[in-house]
Amino acid sequence: MGRGLSLAIGAVRDRLRTMSEGWDRFWFSPADPTLLGVLRVLAGLMLLYTHAVWGLALNDFFGPDAWLSVELVRTLQEYQFAYSFWWWIEPDWMWTAYGISILILAMFTVGLCTRVTSVLSLIVAISFAHRTPEALFGLDQINVMLTLYLTIGDAGRAVSIDRWRARRRGIEDVAPSARANLGQRLIQIHMCTIYFFAGVSKLQGLAWWNGEAMWLAFANLEYQSMDMTWLAGHPLLINVATHTTILWEIFFCALIWNRNWRPVMLAGGTAMHLGIGACLGMWTFGLIMLVGCASFLPNERVRQLVEVLATRRSRAVPVSFPIAASPQAASSALLGGPHQTLPIVVTVDYGPHRSANGSQRFQG
């Protein structure tokens, strides 16, 4: 009896140790920061564009008589923890604050003093969002989410002016970093959460079951940027688009971790988001979602691509691979194993949430 108990305790202990090692490997294996650097550039460009567009109607949205008055927004945000520097900006200083914000975002995009400018960019993005909460949609949510995780991942360590300056100081190689992996993993997990809830929340809608939902999207003149009414005569095509969309969203969080399914899921996501951009005119939303999806690209390939592009633009630099070009490779190297991709290391049970969600309100 005593021996059986000690065996059971030992088995549980081994299981817990395995889980702990898996957790560490997933979140904290040093990763090449190149991919995160590329994501910083792409997300930074979107941040710059998004905020540049605010500048075309700054008075309409941030002025003293904006669409959303200070009184209205403060009432909507009552008992919320929403801050914004816009509450302290006098109208005379509005353009100055805007100019400084754009400068910060530009510095973040090119990777200049990134540890500081990434934090400041996060404050800028959140402040703009909290001042105009009712003029926002999914784009702004993803913008802030990416900026947060790029800040955590110290995304200025590669593909940046900071990196260029370090190289001039004689530091040639960029070392793999646990922070880079942490930032990348957080983006990946958040993207899985987004797609899962985007999918299951649709299960409450009749049109997503009878296959007509995509028609409802195409028939919305306010969204439409390409005439898709020719689909009215092809109900099966509409059904296929509807069911594919919802299946892709729900199963993304599971299949994206599988090495065989990952290219399929990424290709499907690319087609879906480019379709959203082309048909519904939401190019910004479609592209920023693709930036999030790009966090699943293989680090090695991204690094190779960046080095090839960098070599073309400057003197020939031999392509070198440090101890690890990816979290998976890093862990293999550190554990003394072969250079191979690990199988799924995290599984999440989403079961209890399937029937517990939904919304009757629009959330773009």
């Binding site: 979140w27 904290f28 294996s29 040093p30 567009v53 109607a57 309409d60 949205f61 008589d65 904006a66 959303l68 209205l72 009432t75 919320q80 923890f81 969002a129 105009t132 009712e134 003029a135 926002l136 784009l139 949510q141 004689g170 040639e172 070392a175 970093s177 922070r179 942490l182 997990i189 959460t193 985007a198 929340s201 409450q204 809608g205 009749l206 049109a207 997503w208 939902a213 028609w215 409802l216 028939a219 919305n220 003149l221 306010e222 439409q224 689909l231 009215a232 509409i238 005119g281 939401m282 910004t284 949430h353 517990a356 969600n357 939904g358 919304s359 009757q360 629009f362 959330q363 773009g364």
Partner: protein, 199 residues
Amino acid sequence: MDVDSDRNRDQDADGREIDSGPPPRRIGRRSLRWAVNLWLVLHVSAIIIAPASVAPSSALAQTGWEIVHPYLQLLFLNHGYHFFAPEPAESTLLGYVAEREDGTVVTGRIPNREIGPRLLYHRHFMLSEHMAGTDPELRELWHQSFARHIGTKYGADRVSLSQITHYLPTRQMVLEGVRLDDPASYVEQPLGVYQWDED
């Protein structure tokens, strides 16, 4: 594995970073690692609770939301991600008539397809969409805010607002020749007349 393992590297004579092996275990590093792990668990839980607590939701999910919402709101991560859910629906537009003191009148509607670039168009579209879905107790405040903005923008002291619901045609209707901008698909509801004296 250390949370900040890139700091556990030294530089060789050429200034290149080299791996100096496993870091010495120190109480500070171990505490940091535990703190980061704890934060990860709480953070990932929070970003899952946010969409899970959108109605209809369980008491458990709502209780979770009560706990995590300050953190999520602070970081602007308090989202439901219910894109086009439960299903794509009709649009809401805002119509307005602004009357100036000299008798001239400006009429308009948001969103307006002439607004460019497309992102700015969507910003205006979200204003009218969110107005339609707002708490009934706050609607008057929305209308006053919109009327004040329109009045200031066009130099008008009297602004009439209306909410326009644009219904979607079925496939059958389109096959029978109904256009997406068919006048019958727009239903206008007056929201009120707002007048003020700048003096």
